[in-house]
Amino acid sequence: MNKIALLCITASLLFACNSDDDNNIDTESDPVSVAFQFTQNWDGNEIQNADYETTTYTTENGTNLKLSKLNYLISDITFTAQDGTVYDASDYNLITARTGGNADFTPGIEIPEGNYNVSFTFGFDDEDNQNAAYLDLNSADGTWSVPEMLGGGYHYMRMEGTFEAAQGNTETFQYHTIRANKHSSLPPDMTTLEFTEDTSFVVDLGTIEIGNSTQIVVGMNVAEWFKNPNTWDLNVNSSVMMPKYELQIAMNENGSNGAFSLISATQE
């Protein structure tokens, strides 16, 4: 058999994959993949690599901070067709915002063209948040796992930097979001954990028309994590947030209340 013949057969196999589901979506053309880009801003000002450790941002509470690191995990990008059919690639993506690592992400699924409600999960929901289960996340540059005594699984976000404390000195902060975990007493150990609570949340990007080369740009407004409904005072809470149940709940409230939004959806 020669190369060309093999190629033709391969190609015809692939073309045979056309969807003929009977949704009210385009079943004529090839199913498509959808490209995502994850960006960050501070109340609308885009945060670039050069801003890390240099640009001062002021929180709702009036505290000046600089960012050093902003890594976050998103998962389960989901496309829901108008007839209710759900397309979910069941994958995940760890974004290293400072360097733009994994800012561009194409879920491993192809869907028929049409209108969809598009959503994703910030972090891992409990079903996915299994301890040490993902070799690439265990090996990520920048520890991503959560100690078992804090309920295990993975970080959702590591936002780190420095701030000007009320006394005028520079202090550091580690705004780490994980699954909320409640302890009978602190410091935690393997006997103090009472229960955990899923504090990942679903971000709904609304209805988006998916064509054969759609790019969806998602923005995270970092200021929101310090804003609403809980005005965050770094002088009070800058460190040791992981084992504190109430803080994880508060961070979840701020994050799920508008930190993420759709910036644009374009057809290339």
Partner: protein, 375 residues
């Protein structure tokens, strides 16, 4: 037919995997498979292949972290590893036949050096502490040296041979010496199918040997595998290590889910207010990276004193005191360092002792005593 293809594709695209496959990718994949298959038919047997010796990856690593990084053009082979080992211990690599790699990467010292600065052939001191060589095949970012100046293991090894404060040789001279020796040409033939010795093959062989230096049999590893139990002191030391109010070491040095005990990334851990060694910043030129050094693994600390890039701390007690009360502020200090104005979080004496016991539980006597790694 259609469903069969979809099932095949589903197999190719594992759920929750980082692989981002689309139809184009799969098509390209299939096409390249076809081409490879055709090429193999065209010219078989022209390529010499030594006896494959795939790395034996410990179960603990297989279960938790990604497979080792092995360059496609330098597969592990029995003959290559044996040659690399011989070269590693051979003083003929240095200009005056006095220094081998193993002179500064001493097996019983965890393949590092108990002198803060190693001494080169001229008697001149280097300016950094020798690094332990362990689990380097799992350095996924492939940034080597304290400052990340080498971008692969093979490339790293070009440097020490010609560094004037290390082996102070030239590669031309090394090649000539090895070529005219009675033993080496045959060994290169066996490993690479050629008697012509060049620097690339030398570094390839040494890299193959260094990749076999895998350490995963410490007390802590054995406890992870359920073979032994940690002492209460070691267990509490782990808690201190993981607890954000006390050690919070794990955000850089890893945790049981990352048995390498390093993130292999670069940080400023608060050693100095001013830097006389810019570390990563010297390589990148980025002022935000001045004073950043690669996080060392905490494995085998029992054998690898002194500590830090300049070997400034002779004991683990000094290291722990540094993190507890000796932190110094500088612009690039890592945000994971806390209460810097007070020098740190002030660990209690008993927490310090427990933390030390835990750190020592990561040391692996069988690693430094492994006859495969000795001359």
């Amino acid at each position: 037919m259609k469903t069969e293809v979809m099932e095949l594709l589903a197999l190719l695209v594992p759920r929750k995997s980082k692989f981002k496959m689309n139809k184009f990718g799969i098509l390209m994949g299939l096409m390249s498979l076809l081409f490879v298959a055709c090429e193999d038919n065209d010219d078989t047997a022209s390529q010499y292949m030594a006896t494959p010796a795939p790395l034996e990856v410990p179960a603990l690593f297989v279960d938790k972290i990604l497979p080792p990084v092995i360059p496609e053009d330098n597969p592990q082979t029995v003959e290559g590893i044996a040659l690399g080992k011989k070269l590693f211990f051979d003083t003929r690599l240095s200009a005056d036949n006095t220094l081998a790699c193993a002179s500064c990467h001493i097996p019983q010292e965890g393949f590092s050096d108990s002198r803060p600065f190693s001494i080169g052939i001229t008697g001149e001191e280097g300016f950094r502490n020798s690094m332990p060589l362990q689990n380097l095949a799992f350095n996924y970012g492939e940034k080597f040296n304290w400052d990340g100046s080498a971008n692969s293991l093979e490339n790293q090894m070009f440097e020490p041979v010609k560094n004037p404060i290390e082996m102070a040789n030239t590669w031309l001279n090394v090649e000539a010496t090895l070529q005219s020796s009675s033993d080496y040409p045959e060994l290169f033939e066996a490993a690479f199918g050629t008697q012509t010795i060049d620097s690339t093959l030398v570094t390839k062989a040494m890299s193959q040997f260094v990749r076999t230096l895998i350490s995963a049999n410490s007390r802590f590893d054995q406890a992870q595998l359920g073979l032994i139990e940690l002492s209460p002191q070691e267990q509490n030391g782990l808690n201190v290590f993981l607890d954000e109010t006390r050690g919070d070491c794990f955000h850089c040095h890893g945790l049981p889910a990352n048995p390498l005990w390093t993130d292999n990334a670069f940080h400023n851990n608060g050693l100095d207010a001013q830097f006389n060694d810019l570390g990563l910043g010297n390589v990148t030129g980025d002022p935000r990276e001045f004073g950043l050094f690669r996080t060392p693994s905490l494995r085998n600390l029992k054998f690898t004193a002194p500590y830090m890039h300049d070997g400034r701390f002779a004991t683990l007690d000094e290291v722990i005191d540094h993190y507890s009360e000796g932190l110094v502020f500088s612009e690039t200090i890592d945000p994971l360092m806390k209460t810097i104005s007070e020098g740190g979080v002030q660990l209690t004496d008993s927490d310090k002792a427990d933390l030390k016991a835990f750190l020592l539980s990561l040391s692996d006597d069988s690693f430094i005593n492994n006859p495969d790694f000795r001359e």
